[in-house]
Point group: D3
Chain length 260, copies 6
Amino acid sequence: MRENNIKKIWAEGGTVFNGWLASPGSVTAEVMARQDWDSVTIDLQHGLVDYSDAVTMLQAISQTDTVPLARCPWNEPVMVQKLLDAGAYGIICPMINSREECEQFIGACRYFPDGYRSVGPIRAGMYAGPDYITHANTTVLAIAMIETSQAVDKLDEILTTPGLDGIFVGPSDLSVSLGTAAGFDPEFPKVMAAIEHIAERCQHHGIPAGIHTGSVEYALRMQKLGYQFITLLSELRMIQWASGNAIKAFRAGAPSPDAP
Amino acid sequence: MRENNIKKIWAEGGTVFNGWLASPGSVTAEVMARQDWDSVTIDLQHGLVDYSDAVTMLQAISQTDTVPLARCPWNEPVMVQKLLDAGAYGIICPMINSREECEQFIGACRYFPDGYRSVGPIRAGMYAGPDYITHANTTVLAIAMIETSQAVDKLDEILTTPGLDGIFVGPSDLSVSLGTAAGFDPEFPKVMAAIEHIAERCQHHGIPAGIHTGSVEYALRMQKLGYQFITLLSELRMIQWASGNAIKAFRAGAPSPDAP
Amino acid sequence: MRENNIKKIWAEGGTVFNGWLASPGSVTAEVMARQDWDSVTIDLQHGLVDYSDAVTMLQAISQTDTVPLARCPWNEPVMVQKLLDAGAYGIICPMINSREECEQFIGACRYFPDGYRSVGPIRAGMYAGPDYITHANTTVLAIAMIETSQAVDKLDEILTTPGLDGIFVGPSDLSVSLGTAAGFDPEFPKVMAAIEHIAERCQHHGIPAGIHTGSVEYALRMQKLGYQFITLLSELRMIQWASGNAIKAFRAGAPSPDAP
Amino acid sequence: MRENNIKKIWAEGGTVFNGWLASPGSVTAEVMARQDWDSVTIDLQHGLVDYSDAVTMLQAISQTDTVPLARCPWNEPVMVQKLLDAGAYGIICPMINSREECEQFIGACRYFPDGYRSVGPIRAGMYAGPDYITHANTTVLAIAMIETSQAVDKLDEILTTPGLDGIFVGPSDLSVSLGTAAGFDPEFPKVMAAIEHIAERCQHHGIPAGIHTGSVEYALRMQKLGYQFITLLSELRMIQWASGNAIKAFRAGAPSPDAP
Amino acid sequence: MRENNIKKIWAEGGTVFNGWLASPGSVTAEVMARQDWDSVTIDLQHGLVDYSDAVTMLQAISQTDTVPLARCPWNEPVMVQKLLDAGAYGIICPMINSREECEQFIGACRYFPDGYRSVGPIRAGMYAGPDYITHANTTVLAIAMIETSQAVDKLDEILTTPGLDGIFVGPSDLSVSLGTAAGFDPEFPKVMAAIEHIAERCQHHGIPAGIHTGSVEYALRMQKLGYQFITLLSELRMIQWASGNAIKAFRAGAPSPDAP
Amino acid sequence: MRENNIKKIWAEGGTVFNGWLASPGSVTAEVMARQDWDSVTIDLQHGLVDYSDAVTMLQAISQTDTVPLARCPWNEPVMVQKLLDAGAYGIICPMINSREECEQFIGACRYFPDGYRSVGPIRAGMYAGPDYITHANTTVLAIAMIETSQAVDKLDEILTTPGLDGIFVGPSDLSVSLGTAAGFDPEFPKVMAAIEHIAERCQHHGIPAGIHTGSVEYALRMQKLGYQFITLLSELRMIQWASGNAIKAFRAGAPSPDAP
């Protein structure tokens, strides 16, 4: 079975730098996958992406060595399984707030006896190899999102769920849940305290921690805190950032370092 | 009929700053249209975009005041007319190398007696208003691409074609046609000479000139040469530029001004 | 944040006249949105519409001032949230039969602390404005369908669920649930009694009531009963009605007032 | 090979009443095909329909006995052949202005030795039967549009082109070409004179004449003039007409015979 | 209402031979439906098919007398109902492990008072006829998958669930659940024992049994065991089998009976 | 630039065994590409495939080493160029009947000065490498179809067109053009004579010859005649052949060597 390069990077103590796809489109997916991201995640939760889009996007990404991941829309077994069958090499699941929810999520990612995933990896077997069923349980990543105060309260019970491969912090939801404003790269003390606490507990339990960031500067700070799976914005945000800067520079009549 | 804002900008002596869509997708089209571009062009020639994609992209752009344009795949009447019926407010046509070719192109953009466009502006009438047919010939833009040495040779006869609204330089094809390498922002003396010559003849004939550029710096130089319709890269190039810079910065361990 | 025009009409004591989209297609969606409906609802329950269709349909509707709504396929949080993130300004949820079900539905429509909706309004923020997250809980409509005898029995507990913006009667399901035949515009005494009872309880609790009707005549009767959100047929039914009448008239050899 | 019911109706001296599809969508296509139209035409010229849409629409129509036709976007052999291979049982070709253009069009509809259509009726053979290739030349309809003053001038040479099955008048283009305003159901004397002249010459040459109309009243007048293939509006116009009338009636507070 | 031919075959003691669609595509669906299968099942669980694909596939199949079925992705009411509304004449539901799960599944297939399916059979009514609602509960098939050891343990309680029309064995999941390897046509004694036990209990309770097989040879063995609904591979497996054999034969330089 | 493996096989005197895709679908494309075909051709002429389908199919094929080819719908520059920009590594063009037509086709495949292809290989550059423009003219294949008696008459002038990489015989059209019946694997003496003549002239001019066959037996005969690019049926024909045989075998009650 094709190796999961994320596991290899983590085993070597490295940090995964992950791209994010928020819009449907196999061409934008290919463009992102051909950058030097370690992995690219198709977002079926907040991203305007549906399953039929995701299939062609997974095919597009699979032309490259970039690891294809997907965020499922909710902690429900249907889409987790459909995305894995379509060849996602890991699932990020939103809103895991308890051990029970985490078990339900992980169960959908694992064949018997580790879970209740149904057998039929039609495209996954083509992507990964004919021995997919044998090795999938230990290759495919199950990553739970920690993004509410309730999840922070239940952190240890979540982090010790058998089969959990990693967690991913959603800073906007976490901030809102802690009573502050939504947005990338929060600096609110209690949000930052939670982010640091999560990093610390993950290291304690040997679970790689991830987070979604809005800037390289914040990404590097998170890396220093121990985060090993760091997402930066999305393809749509890249368009907005570069276009917005370029238009401003052009209208101002002077090139700018933050624009092409 | 809804005014064509490009005509207004040109009438005031201003420069249109135009975004470019090279991939199919109504979401990326909406994101681009919501930046401060004066217009956005859907590229059906080299862009990986087909007509059915273009319809939803035109709808997405039409939520905003950004003027929706399209580049047709070739100088053929079918797609010119289909794109206009779908609500494009102007067509950029590749590879116009003679007066005859220019007349054929413009004819497809104009109702009788100015051309041979067939009547049936199904979505254009919804976008522009019920008097579309009456005013379309003087509102919708016909922009011819000048991108070969042959076209440069025939420039005056092309620029004086009745009904021509503007021209658009394709620097890659022009460079190749002049025996140099393809690419944005050419500095080869003979290419630059052609670019300057085109600007000069356009001003002489009162035809706004446009060009596709790869940087704000070059765009500003073109503006100074008199170019009034300036395109910068594309949404895919924005993703590549911003992502590539960010990945490099992250891996280098230091933020960079050219990355988010 | 862009105002929700439905709330304004209701605040002024007016009636919302709502169009209905039962088939996928951004062009039919645009045509409907450009009629004088106050709002148009994309039906993802019985309509043959999926989420990826809904995205382009929401973009098409958003070219106009017609308020874009969607009926989610079932009382499940996934699609409620995905449709809101895609820019629906209200959700109609089928088969709300108890307070608990109503709370679950409303929770999916509201950010913390009013509910459990996850933060990430990618297109909604583009449509509504950058302060979407701040005002969404009081702008986006949560409308519960009352369409079973059980729901009628639990009406008061449903109508008093915090955050409920309105209800919508499904006459076919309600009729079947009461033991009579399915169909628009029921006249069965016990169905009519239920419809009147619902109107009365809604007025008592200050909750706008809505209903799906099959004719202007019935729609006007419902308005007189106090219904303030009235849907008429669907785009498919309009095609059937007008085409069917026209074909009959043509074959009969005489124009007819019910045909074009 | 499956019979072409239009030929049968014409052979019996009857009139074909034809529905029109201007938007993409297999569901609206099915709804139209299930009305009592004799045939339904998918419009790839002014309709917002592309070939990939047309394939599923042809499949949807083929569930019924309604004859599936298509209007190709222009007099070019590519789409004529692709639509026939996909199972269209006849092609309406816009803008036939001379014998030569008519021959080119008909040639694309016919296998050797009657034309230059390439062999490979992948779906047509499934729809029509395994002997499709043998009988296609005499079963599939080639219908030329007469919609310019030039075509009226060349009428006899067009009508006598070998293999021509019928003609179809485009009243908007014809009106514009004759110097009057576009629109359905023209009453301008010179347009009406042309319409009558076309009917007369078609009868003389034994070629069934068709026309696109905007009302049953006008359709019946055309039938009396001898037109045997009459199209009424389109599915989009049906939505606009019925919805528009219903909204007006509802807002006026009284049912109306021209609304459901 | 259109008869369900599967019920007729079963009533006559016959065996249904069922084709399987694992990939999206209305053309492959039409090709399969035009073979001599009694029914064809669109697989939305492991198949790479989404609901919007399924709609056009159901339309494609409905051109023929082949019965259109669908496997829903999971035991959840949303997709069961959406597929039935789209015209599926039966649903195969994965992973039914208890009476309670079976009741939930069947309830989604049945209108009140037999279940909780909501009324609105938009395409089903077009396919089946205007009396669809009256007869759907006794025409549309509810088929539960038996594919875990738990289901085998609870077999009698599942088989006696009111409204159950048939069961379908998933040999891969059943094998894995019983501790052996996944794959078609299992020969493991305990899997074979379960398969025989299921056949025996189904005959006892008068419930037709089905199974997914990988070869005609195994299919015939299953028929002898009493299985009356037998699926063979899928359209993708047919491509793999025939292509793979042909390539081998060509490279070996000799035709082979297992290749075209 | 990524090597074109077909050229390598031909240079070594080998035969390319080519799969054929006649229906839209990135999943069937991936399945075909993962068999041991040397190349796979997406058919945009008779295949029910459009450009937007082709883009995802090219991405799907590009996951493998199988060379992606496409048949353009007609000898027109638009689709030739769009397919090359999308990453096709060769174009098969139908109906090349003269030197002039062959030159027009080849010109669309080649950048200046060898042709008139416009520069902008958006996906081709991603697939093939950043030096695509430099090497495309000598890497991308231009293959002309010989399928009429006229083409056979003009064979030498066609085969000596500069830049021609190969030819491909369409046996159905050739048979019809020679006055015999359409179909794969013709045995008519005059068709066979033409096929042998084409092979002989191709060898004389050093141009690899190809042909579309319907069986391994015929394919091997063609290989012996010197054909070096041999296509076998299509994915749809594989489905029909294997399914048809399996159904017959099952209904006959006995396995068969020509069925799975």
